[in-house]
Structures are given as structure tokens and as C-alpha cells.
Amino acid sequence: MTPKKALNYAYYPGCSLHASAGEYDLSTRELFKKLDIGLTEVPDWFCCGATPAHNVDELLSLSLCAKNLELAEQVEGDLAVACAACFSRLKTAQHVLAESDIKRRQVEKAIDAPVPLTSNVKHLLDILARDLGLEQLEQAVTKPLAGLKVACYYGCLLTRPTDVPNLDCVEAPTIMEDILKAAGAETVAWSHRMECCGANFTLSRPGVVIQLSHAILDSAKEAGADCIMVACPLCHGNLDIRQKEIEGVYNTEYAMPVFYITQLVGLATGLGADKLGLDALIVNPMPLLKEKGLV
């Protein structure tokens, strides 16, 4: 076995993790502590602009991302990003600015600093599966998630778009399944793992979210999944927070817990429910976890 090298990262949590997705933040910090991976939050980071910024103002979106990349330079290590949307935005900005001299000059003028184009932006999944490695991860597992059937949900932005060097295969990624298998869980094959959940329409057009998320929940249920696993606070909000509403509209019942990846992997490494923020989930996961003997 190769000797373990110290892993340290600059951490960009993103706005949601400091608000509606607090349990994602908590479980990420606890899991990384347990795995001996250092996380130092980027001091005074800004919102990346998410979808609304690039929707109507690309220059603003690029500038906000570039500013964050510049702030991250203060902390040593690659940049670890938890939210799929932030990850996609930061990666895309780097790619676009490297390709276009005109846009880079505009952005550098807007933030009054050079843009770091070579810094490594990594999603948590990448860090767990590749930097730490599946072998190391498997060794850290003390309570395998035996018998838990998980539907791994990628959503849109973890793997898209294709032209930006990204996380995994754009149409048939396996990185989430790989990690879950290392944690001892079973993963199901299902049709909607990369379909959009409606994302930020949750504010402006919730009807859209209800229709799209219903199809996702339905597909997971049909595939025999006990629960869904996500790596994005928006996917989580749509599938977990709106689940009751979706059940009402379609007159059905899912009672399908939706976990963040760090919560499930955290459970496998022996972290307690209190350290993973399981009580913050809207669909109560406790009956399922008790049934499987995991808590």
C-alpha cells in the first residue's frame, strides 16, 4: 500500500450550505475530519451567481466566479466544492476564461485582479473517489451500509457540459455508485438518474418542479430503491422538501428519504446521526435506517 499523503483543501461551501442545506455542510465537515482530510473555508467567499447570473449576465457570472477563485488562492490546496451548481459554475468560468482572451480581459478588469486559470476545482465526489481513493475509503468503513438500496441521483450539473473537463462520463457516470459500493451499499439501476429536477424553478414556477421531481421519485421507487442520494442542495430541496407536496398532487406515497452523499458515507464510517444532521431531513430517514440496522 502506498503511504497516505496529507490531503488539504480550500473549501467553498456555497450559499445553500450556510442556510437551507446546513446538514450537507455539517456532514461534509464531520466526514472529512473522520477521513483525515483538511478543509479550510475560503475566507469571505461570495455567491457564485448560480443559474440566475449566467442566465441573464454572463460577464457578471464569470466575474463572481473569478473573484471566488482569486479568494481561494489565499488558502493552500485544491478548491473543494460541495454544491453541484457552484462546481459547474466555477469550472465553466475557468474554461470559458481560458478559451477567450476578450472575456478574460473584461473579467480581469471587473475584479481588478488576474484570474487563476490553473487552480484545481474539485467536487467532493472527486476527492472521495480519486484523491482519497476507493480503497482508502473502503478501509475507513466500519459500519457497511449492507442491505440499503440506494438510487444515486446525478441531476444535471455534476457531469455537464461535455466540453468542460469534468467529473465523470457525461451520459453514463458511475462515480456515485462507486463510492456507495465502497461504503457497502447496494445501488439500483434506474432511468431518471440524470434527469433535471426543475432546479431553481422551485421559487418562480413550483409546478414545474413538482412535475419533474415526481417523475424522478417515481422512477426511483419503481427501481426498488429505499432512498435517493444526491450531491446538490437544489436537487435535495426539490426531492426532499417538496416530496410531501408531490405526494399530494399525484395522490401517492413515496416516503423516500433523500440523503446527501456525505451523510450516507458518514454513516458507513461510524459517525452518529447527530453529526450528520439527519434530523434536518424533511422525510424522516430514521424508520428506514432502523429497519436496516444502521442506527
Binding site: H18, F46, P52, H54, N55, D57
Partner: protein, 194 residues
């Protein structure tokens, strides 16, 4: 759309607009050969009056007013499935961004106001707080859109779970973010940026 005749003439075909979209999006509009794969995979196509491939076709024919007057571009979820699957490397998601930008700047005649309102509030929040303040975003959206009771049932549940913070997170260095917004406005005023 179905019953309205489309008149094509040098007067109705605005090629300059297409060039602008191509410059903004960095992708070719003319390369699309209408295979329809983008619309086939689009999760939002059912909500649009012009599905993605038709948006491109209308653009190719210089009929951009029809696109900006509708809500199709505002019903794009930016999931990038279209760009990913295009066999001819048309980056449709970027074209949608460019169209929204042009509509936004023109204070467009779009029928879709809720998505625009949400975007506007989101960007205002960044300028005021540096980060998103979800509670305020939702509350102000409901007031401004006149849907006072929207998601009322979710509120107490979210607060009890600690998911809605009563106090916002604010960056320490707000002058920095204001400067970025200011410089971009300045650049646009001087014609240095689109």
C-alpha cells in the same frame, strides 16, 4: 404559432441579431441542421411554446421577435442536456443564455415575468449581501409576485428544521462586490463589454 403565417422577407429576417447571439454565446447558430435531438432530451420542452430546436430554426430565419415575445427561453432550466447531446456541437444552452441576456437588456416583451423577477431578486441579493439570503428571496418574491400564500405550509417546517435562517449571512467585504457590479456597469456604459 400554428395558425399564424410566417412571412419571410429581407425586412423580417434580421441576420444582425443572429450575429449578436453568436458573438455572445460563442457558438454557431447556423450549424444546426434540425435533427431535433435537443428537444427530444429537453426536460422543459413540454412547458415551452417553441421547443429548443424550433428556437434555433426561428433564429436562423431571423425571426427573433417571436422568440423574445414568448416564454420558451425563460423556461430553459440550464440543465445543458441539449448542448451535451448536439451531434453538430451547437452549444444551445449558451444560445439560450445569450437570448435571455438580449431580452433582459431590452426589458423584453416576454410573457414570463416570474422567472425574470426571481432572477432579478437573486442578483439584487448578491449585490446587497454578497451571498444568497434564501428566506428574504422567497419572502420578497411572494410579495412582489402577489402570491402571498405561496409555499406557506413549507415555512414553519423549514424553520423548525433550521433550514430557513432568520438572519442573513453577509460578507465582510461588501465594498468589493459593489466594485465588481460598478465596474461591469461602467464597462457597458463605455461600450467595452456587451
Amino acid at each position: 404559432m400554428k395558425k399564424k403565417k410566417m412571412l419571410l422577407s429581407t425586412e423580417t429576417m434580421d441576420v444582425d441579431f443572429v450575429r449578436k447571439v453568436e458573438a455572445l454565446s460563442g457558438t454557431s447558430v447556423r450549424r444546426c441542421f434540425q435533427c431535433g435531438k435537443c428537444s427530444a432530451g429537453c426536460p422543459m420542452a413540454t412547458f415551452m411554446e417553441h421547443p429548443p430546436n424550433r428556437v434555433v430554426r426561428l433564429l436562423q430565419l431571423g425571426q427573433w421577435q417571436r422568440i423574445l415575445a414568448g416564454r420558451s427561453i425563460w423556461y430553459c432550466a440550464s440543465c445543458e442536456t441539449c448542448s451535451t447531446r448536439c451531434p453538430n456541437k451547437v452549444h444551445l444552452a449558451s444560445i439560450m443564455d445569450a437570448l435571455r441576456k438580449l431580452s433582459w437588456d431590452a426589458e423584453g416583451p416576454s410573457k414570463e415575468s416570474y422567472v425574470q423577477l426571481a432572477n432579478r431578486l437573486f442578483l439584487q441579493n448578491i449585490r446587497t449581501y454578497g451571498r444568497q439570503y434564501e428566506m428574504r428571496l422567497a419572502a420578497v418574491f411572494n410579495v412582489k409576485s402577489g402570491q402571498f400564500l405561496k409555499d406557506l405550509m413549507l415555512g414553519p417546517k423549514l424553520i423548525s428544521k433550521g433550514k430557513l435562517k432568520m438572519f442573513h449571512q453577509k460578507n465582510k467585504n461588501m465594498t468589493e462586490i459593489e466594485k465588481i457590479f460598478g465596474r461591469i456597469e461602467e464597462m457597458r456604459k463605455n461600450g467595452e463589454a456587451l
